[in-house]
């Protein structure tokens, strides 16, 4: 019971982080129809920025969060302007390869700037590290804090789309880009915003993840592929689907790691992607047939 509850809690916590990465991917994919392959590296860079602000220069955690989100947003917009807008009329191969190119540039830059400071950079925990026992259930305050943060970001994200003008414009563009143009929405700007918002969510996730996972230049890809697995489980265009998918991947990963073998943790996401895409390419949660050919 103790083991199970611990595994479930840590699975839900990492799952919530995957869900945030997945939300970023889904926002970009909904608006533009492509996947930003640099999403994981944005996550990594944002985590390091937060580390620099918080640990290196000793500022507040809140300031680190804000700084990382801001940098993430700006980088996301830059990716749109550099690797997406010039290729609007090109095929998907060109766009994917361009974002892959950017992701390697970011990874290399991250390694040059922060890689020399030791293999793994540790980020101080936000809360106390003593676990709380509730009967047989173990609660780790750090995980609870991360979970709360992730839920807050998800709610803010949902509210942004439902209640703000820009959020509604983004929804309209995702729904029908031509019609959106007709009613006067400048869809190129929406694309930029989508890349920016997606990156900002990833950045927030990175700051939340940093105390749990440590920071290293290669962390981006693993979060990207797991975030993507989460998005795929949810069908790649559904925001709630991404959240459910993220939690599912996190829990499966934690249970597989705890009960089968610790090396199963890394691989369960890849297996999930391959299985879901083979069996139900529209995602486990979508009940209507809408496949991009």
């Amino acid at each position: 019971m103790t083991m199970l509850s611990y595994l479930l809690l840590s699975g839900i916590t990492t799952g919530a982080l995957y869900a945030l990465v997945a939300l970023g991917l889904v926002v970009v994919n909904k608006a533009t129809g492509v996947i930003n392959f640099a999403q994981g590296e944005l996550f990594m860079v944002a985590g390091f920025i937060a580390w620099s602000i918080h640990v290196q220069f000793g500022f507040d955690f809140a300031l680190a969060l804000a700084g990382a989100v801001l940098v993430g947003f700006v980088l996301g917009c830059a990716i749109d302007r550099i690797a997406f807008r010039p290729l609007l009329r090109a095929d998907v191969v060109a766009i994917v390869l361009a974002t892959v190119g950017i992701s390697f540039m970011l990874k290399g830059i991250g390694r040059i700037i922060w890689g020399g400071k030791g293999d793994y950079l540790s980020f101080p925990p936000i809360t106390s590290t003593d676990p709380i026992m509730l009967g047989e259930i173990v609660l780790v305050p750090q995980q609870i804090a991360v979970l709360a943060g992730a839920i807050a970001i998800m709610l803010a994200f949902g509210a942004f789309f439902r209640f703000t003008r820009i959020g509604k414009m983004m929804q309209a563009t995702a729904d029908n880009a031509k019609a959106a143009t007709l009613v006067g929405i400048r869809i190129e700007r929406i694309y930029t915003l989508a890349f920016g918002t997606g990156a900002a969510v990833a950045a927030a996730a990175a700051v939340l993840a940093a105390p749990l996972t440590l920071l290293y230049p290669d962390m981006g890809f693993s979060f990207f592929i797991k975030g993507f697995a989460a998005a795929v489980v949810g069908g790649l265009t559904s925001l709630p689907g991404a959240v459910v998918g993220g939690l599912a991947i996190g829990i499966v990963e934690a249970l597989a790691g705890g009960y089968i073998h610790s090396s199963m943790m890394e691989v369960s996401a890849f297996i999930a992607i391959m299985l879901v895409l083979l069996i139900r390419p529209t995602g486990l949660l979508s009940f209507y047939k809408a496949r991009r050919v």
Binding site: G101, S263, I273, L277
Partner: protein, 342 residues
């Protein structure tokens, strides 16, 4: 035309001649780099068949390269097979895996294919790392050196010429594939699957063929690579390897065999030039990929095509089509092979 002697065939022949004579005046390091270029030419030509011609956005080529290398090495180490048998066997294992990967490609396209093959590549990497009883885990393993005993060459020169001969033969073969019915079918699949099917191109067969061919090229390259280094470890076949190969194809030119040859040469030379600045490699290759995609999508070859007359790479064999021969069969009846009868 001052440049008209620079026909594609002449340039390629000159390059082969230079490569054949290189061992006469090269130090071991030059020979190593040249051999590396041959191996990367195999990789990029194979990847170009899949990505540039058949238009399948697959990310598993580095994994196929690894499977070829591991297959060749492990058959030698565990079963004591001689290299000359383990090497084709390793390439065949890679081909078989590549053919299996074609199955999801039938249902998925574009991004979905990219990500499922990416997941597959990471899965392969995980197997290399964690199946320690067979693959020796993260530390890798040494492979025995092949001896070219009856021939009067040492290991280095023997392998150099073996790679050269295989590379030339396989590039020539690829050049013939793309000017044949198969190559034209690949291009139709790339440009529109619906149009391809309506023309009688069997998607299953041609996608599987493209995946199998590119995996075979990668497997052959892997076998040679394992023998060149006499060492196999997981990190040679990771994401960085993947981006190197993508950069070769894009820098050379998507959909051009000659471009793949030039791209592989360029990338290996840059890679070796950056040997002292390891940290910069990722940035440089990422940037090359990006810059070529945005500013020169046709790659180096598109520039050459524009300035050198006679460089065109037609999709049919030059001279094979008589200029204006009337069709012998009824225009509405497609050839039997394309109806999928054979």
């Amino acid at each position: 035309m001052p440049l008209s002697f620079l026909r594609r065939r002449n340039v390629m022949l000159a390059l082969v001649l230079v490569a054949a004579l290189l061992p006469l005046g090269a130090n071991p390091y030059h020979l190593f780099v040249a051999n590396l270029i041959f191996i990367y030419i195999l990789l990029s030509v194979g990847l170009n068949l899949l990505l540039g011609y058949a238009g399948q956005l697959a990310f598993a080529n580095a994994a196929m390269f690894g499977i070829g290398a591991y297959g060749t090495g492990l058959l030698q180490v565990h079963f004591g097979w001689p290299f000359l048998i383990a090497f084709p066997a390793g390439a065949l294992i890679a081909t078989a895996v590549g053919l299996t990967l074609a199955l999801p490609a039938l249902r998925l396209s574009g991004l979905y294919l990219a990500l499922s093959t990416l997941a597959f590549a990471q899965f392969t990497q995980w197997v290399f790392l964690h199946w320690e009883g067979v693959t020796f885990g993260a530390g890798g393993f040494k492979t025995p050196q092949v001896s070219f005993a009856p021939l009067p060459v040492d290991h280095r020169h023997g392998l150099y010429y073996l790679s050269l001969v295989i590379m030339v033969a396989m590039v020539w073969f690829a050049g013939n594939i793309v000017t044949s019915r198969i190559g034209r079918a690949f291009i139709t699949v790339r440009d529109s699957e619906v149009a391809a099917e309506s023309l009688g191109v069997d998607l299953l067969r041609y996608k599987a063929l493209a995946f199998g061919l590119s995996a075979f090229y990668a497997g052959i390259a892997g076998g040679l690579y394992s023998q060149m280094l006499n060492f196999v470890s997981p990190e040679g076949y990771d994401l960085f390897q993947m981006v190197l190969q993508k950069a070769m194809v894009v820098v050379g030119g998507l959909g051009s065999i000659a471009g793949s040859v030039l791209g592989a040469g360029t990338i290996v030379l840059v890679l070796e030039g950056l040997r002292e600045f390891k940290g910069a490699q990722e940035v440089v290759f990422g940037a090359m990929l990006l810059v070529f995609i945005i500013f020169m999508r046709g790659g180096i070859v598109s520039v050459i095509r524009r300035h050198v007359p006679g460089w065109e790479e037609p999709l049919h064999r030059a001279g094979a089509l008589p200029p204006a021969e009337p069709p012998t069969s009824l225009p509405l009846a497609p050839p039997a092979q394309e109806r999928g009868v054979s």
